[in-house]
Symmetry: none
Subunit: 123 residues, 4 copies
DNA sequence: GTGGTCTAGACCACA
DNA sequence: GTGGTCTAGACCACG
């Protein structure tokens, strides 16, 4: 899986990595239990410091998306059973986005149609 | 309209203001063309630096949600025509949230049901 | 409040800082809402890198013990209402310690007497 | 006695083994003087490197929980006399946990009730 | 002035 | 070889 970082984004690099891995898990590019690139390997690949990748992995680990096995590096969680639907922050953000969509003139149907795109994606 | 700032949020204060005004416009608490509080007035009301409020207004203006007329008052835009849509950033964020929802075990129906809540709100 | 770091401990420095602040909150040396030392200030005081203090603060923040107000630095949480009794890890560790105590020949009464010491402490 | 290793734990494997054996001794699953599995046998059983099991045994031996007789078999110590007590480390950890419990809103009685659970266990 | 982020190196424990 | 920790110094956003 390719991880592309945008230098001129105002989202911190470690967050961008975190987001792309989450999206990779969601759309199937990263399978349950699959091994992630090593911290150093990924850092080299995208040309950043390994501490930054480490921070992203720590965040993913804390959120329960991955775990680190001392023998094999980092892996995607095998199951996401007990986790609640959405984090409180993400739900708030969703509310904000829906507000923006409504002001932007989108109907509920327009919005759901947009969502479909992201539900379908499975590269 | 009451604007409440959370000190322990990770979101910068000026963005919290911006978000609340956007949501106010969306759910009808702020009417099209309605005059916003003055920068200094709002700053005093919520007990923060007026530079911060100014920054929020600048952002809203730049995003096209409000405009300032020559008497220095800020008003909500009268119409939001143009093709319906979301900003590129917000659409990306939406994609990220849908990914999180899917991993969290939400079905498309669960997600839409959650969205309904935010579409209904109209205080 | 004085924070003392042990260099020859196998507990990471950022964890030691975290533990001492937690204990400070518990025994009243740090009041609810009280401002913590600044990251740089504390780092200088105990002669370590500010990133390490930052890491400790991030951990405390994530655990809900403190929050960071952009205007005033880091502060102790005002209330700890909704938090559950003990984290799963701490409860497991407690079980392990009780096992050690029993093998060490302590009766339940011996153990509770030892606990009393830590419940009483309020410097 | 079954020893189960968790790959996604932050606790090193050799310590997990050590902890489980200590708890086994405490709750009676391992009798005083009972012979432990061989290093190689246990390593194969739980599918890890025998160096790791060896490290756990060394630690247990150093802590006085087990001893190795001249026929190379490891056995649980016959008696644990001496003045009742906890290691300095464990006592410190206990203090930390009590702090967390207090902040978490547990009363002394809540805490003792939780402890009871671990005192009762004797499989 | 505050915390947040990032870099370029380094050392260590674990397995 | 893996992740985890730490350093010394730097820049940035926020208020």
């Amino acid at each position: 899986m390719i991880i592309a970082i945008s230098d001129n984004s105002d989202i911190p690099i470690y967050q961008q990595i975190r987001n792309q891995i989450v999206m990779g898990i969601s759309d199937g590019r990263l399978a349950m239990g699959e091994q992630l690139p090593t911290v150093r390997g990924l850092a080299e690949e995208i040309g950043i410091n390994s501490m930054t990748v480490n921070k992203a992995y720590q965040l993913l680990k804390q959120e329960g998306y991955i775990y680190t096995d001392r023998r094999n590096g980092a892996r995607v969680r095998e199951s996401f059973d007990g986790r609640p639907g959405l984090s409180k922050e993400s739900e708030e953000t969703l509310g904000r986005i829906i507000s923006e969509a409504r002001i932007g003139g989108m109907t509920k149907e327009d919005f759901y149609q947009l969502c479909e795109k992201y539900f379908k994606e499975r590269k």
